[in-house]
Amino acid sequence: SAVISQKPSRDICQRGTSLTIQCQVDSQVTMMFWYRQQPGQSLTLIATANQGSEATYESGFVIDKFPISRPNLTFSTLTVSNLSPEDSSIYLCSVETGGAVGANVLTFGAGSRLTVL
């Protein structure tokens, strides 16, 4: 399966600032997914990022708050903008591996823990 590296692994930010999280995959992948895990909660999909097109956002998530870049088939960034304490979460990058597209097998990065003061 793919190996995913996320940076930073954790960060503490002031409210009103922004944080950009990087996701690097060791192989080319069509789609990359960004999930959020709020403290003590489950994972919620933020958006799907395809190379060469705009990301597709899930209900409740907007591009102005969570801009995503996907410049090539191995890399993506997620920016969390205008930070508030409610944005304190773990943000996870994932890619689809282990079979045909739609086989739904996801490999996850180790996540980026964001704390907003």
């Binding site: 994972l43 999909l45 899930e58 086989a103």
Partner: protein
Amino acid sequence: AQTVTQSQPEMSVQEAETVTLSCTYDTSESDYYLFWYKQPPSRQMILVIRQEAYKQQNATENRFSVNFQKAAKSFSLKISDSQLGDAAMYFCAYGNTGTASKLTFGTGTRLQVTL
């Protein structure tokens, strides 16, 4: 919309014993995938086991097996011969077939393994 429910926030098992984690889901689809993911304190989400809904045979991966009851929309995970390294959060997840991998996760069950 699909929903996934894990009714056990926490479970405990003694080392070498067997434990079963429960999961129910709701969907109107007939073909889909179900997953159990493990998240240890390191935060790395690890796929434990995967079940395809059209397969009647329950999936098995070494000490991990599932009891998939499609009509009841139930998907429980059995861990046999529990080990200290099994201690983690376990998430049940649902995914539609043939679409982008948008998984719907349950709220998780924290498993403690005691000596």
